[in-house]
């Protein structure tokens, strides 16, 4: 098994259109959650989300075919990938094909744009036709656009496991690099807010009318978010050979299924304990080695409780001294992009020795005896970190990252 590094990171979030803006505002304790302006929220239980400001999106000069009729989700992915490749110092483009792998978590893709067609079709009947609104509907549309834009000719994989999609994508990419199948893989995910997810989480009463407060005793639900993360996952030898510097090392990942319920977490934490232990075993580290957990932390009553129960099972009495934070208080729940964004933030935390805070956290939950990172970023050296994701359908995954000294 080859050593696997993360050598490039691109981010698009509600806090900013790039990695550095997102990181700076995140560690400052700011939140990107605010009123939704994408569509009319009349009739919904909540009016807020962590929405990306499209006008600030930075898209380099790309093959026009890659951008033609591109959905918001695809544009997020393209911007994040361009930033990640530039950050890693890897030249790419349609004129220079690279046999690198691409593994993305696929979310709603072009559904926001397609909803316009659905509304017209429902109103006008079967004679109503759509084309441009439907181009990006397939969940692998952002992957296809990235392949086209950056000349990626290696394996192209789109994982769709709801909120753990891009965690698994990064894990699979690391396995492919570790096994020597490819020296470089682009991994992550993109997702965009749409009426479907907004209405769906409303219908489950899973959203808070106020910004989400992960791990807080006053939590009332999640805030939806959107964005993209692309990580350059690279063979360490390949990276050293070209003088690249790592943010972090991918030590391992684990994935399991709760086999319990489509939307409810297994409450004892036993199912998610299996996920975390699978990831730690794959990484070859002990729970006692973990210095920081970038948690799933959706801020729903049941999810946070089950997640904390799993941490109690894994970390025992030491949990009170394990710093845990969730970016969802600042970035919202970015669904299929969430795990990729959180993996990127975890890698940045390792590289910069700063733990990002949980925006919105103020009152500890006695049932969640973690060491909460609140307020602003906290300086702290991280040798081993866990980034966890627990999804609809019980598709759970965790990544273990470490320093790449």
């Amino acid at each position: 098994m080859n050593e696997v590094w993360i050598t490039g990171i691109g981010l698009v979030t509600a806090l900013g259109p790039d990695r550095e803006t997102t990181w700076r505002r995140l560690v400052a304790g700011e939140s990107g959650i605010g009123p939704v302006t994408l569509f009319d929220t009349a009739g919904f239980r909540t009016r807020i989300a962590a929405q990306v400001d499209d006008a600030r999106l930075v898209l380099p000069a790309l093959d026009r075919r890659a951008l033609r009729h591109a959905s918001r989700a695809s544009r997020f992915a393209l911007a994040a990938a361009a930033e990640a490749l530039a950050d890693a110092g890897l030249a790419s483009g349609p004129g220079a094909p690279h046999p690198w792998a691409l593994v993305l978590g696929g979310g709603t893709a072009g559904l926001f744009e397609a909803e316009t067609f659905v509304a017209r079709r429902l109103a006008g009947g079967s004679r109503v036709r759509g084309l441009t609104e439907l181009v990006d509907v397939p969940q692998d549309a952002p992957s296809d656009r990235l392949g086209l834009a950056f000349g990626l000719t290696g394996p192209r994989i789109t994982v769709t496991t709801a909120c753990s999609s891009s965690t698994i994508a990064v894990g699979l990419a690391a396995e492919m690099v570790g096994d020597g199948e490819t020296p470089v893989a682009l991994a992550g995910g993109a997702d965009a807010i749409c009426r479907l997810t907004y209405a769906g989480f409303n219908s489950l009463h899973a959203v808070d009318r106020e910004p989400a407060k992960p791990y807080d005793s006053r939590r009332r639900g999640l805030s939806l978010g959107e964005g993209a993360a692309v990580l350059v996952v690279e063979d360490a030898g390949h990276a050293r050979g070209r003088g690249a510097r790592p943010y972090a090392r991918v030590l391992g990942y684990g994935a399991t299924n709760d086999a319990f319920h489509m939307t409810q977490p297994e409450p004892s934490g036993a199912a998610w304990e299996r996920t975390l232990r699978a990831a730690l075993a794959e990484a070859g580290v002990e729970a006692a080695d973990v210095d920081y957990v970038n948690g799933h932390g959706t801020a729903t009553e049941q999810n946070d409780a089950a997640e904390c129960a799993a941490y109690v099972r894994v970390f025992g009495g030491r949990l009170g001294s394990v710093p845990v934070s969730s970016v969802k208080g600042a970035l919202g729940h970015c669904l299929c992009a969430a795990g990729g964004i959180e993996a990127a933030v975890t890698a940045l935390a390792i590289a910069r020795a700063v733990l990002p805070p949980t925006a919105g956290f103020a009152e500890a939950d006695p049932a969640c005896p973690i060491d909460p990172v609140a307020g602003a970023g906290r300086p702290g050296r991280v040798r081993v970190a866990v980034s966890s994701s627990f999804a609809f359908g019980g598709n759970s995954a965790a990544l273990v990252l470490g320093g790449a000294a």
């Binding site: 994982v159 489509m262 598709n395």
Partner: protein
């Protein structure tokens, strides 16, 4: 411990030729076989696509459980249970160590349309909560995990026509790595 060789031990299938691998093999061996075409639509003429017209979950998935599943989930459950039965009864592995990989193009679409129908024609607050979980494309694989208590990795691949093949390839890779 990783495997060094991976075998296909059992299979299940639901196709336009019928339910079960034998039906598929019979159709494949019959040069005169043609699928029945015609996907019914509520507001337009049928589409000329091959459909699993005779498909039923009867005797495979209990009715109360089948009612909770959308059509893609029922199709996968019936095919998977055929494969699991063929692998051995009782299953020769602990269920929590059995993974599921699946490929799909449009699982979740029917449920998605139902939710959007409520949003656009009634009120956003009337979106049916029972339908929403089926809008995720991983619903069939996840429902299978829940149905048969399969606790290993559960991963769905969305890659248009190659999704199913990707699922088989990635399952093999997981066993080998």
């Amino acid at each position: 411990m990783s495997a060094t060789r991976v075998y296909v031990r059992a299979a299940g299938a639901v196709t336009a030729a019928g339910t079960g691998v034998p039906a598929l093999l019979r159709a494949a061996a019959d040069p005169g076989w043609r699928p029945v075409l015609g996907l019914e639509r509520p507001d337009a003429p049928p589409l000329p696509v091959a459909v699993c017209r005779e498909f039923t979950t009867k005797d495979v998935v209990p009715p109360l459980l089948a009612r909770r599943l959308d059509r893609p989930s029922r199709l996968l459950a019936v095919a998977a249970r055929e494969a699991l039965r063929a692998a051995g009864e009782p299953l020769p592995w602990a269920p929590e160590r059995v993974g599921v990989t699946a490929g799909t193009w449009n699982a979740g679409t029917s449920a998605l349309v139902e939710v959007l129908r409520a949003v656009f024609l009634t009120s956003p607050d009337e979106a049916p909560p029972a339908q929403f979980p089926s809008t995720v494309a991983n619903a069939p694989a996840s429902q299978l995990g829940i149905l048969d208590k399969l606790g290993g990795p559960n991963i769905t691949f969305a890659e248009k026509q190659v999704g199913g093949l990707r699922a088989v390839a990635e399952a093999a890779r997981m066993l080998l790595s």
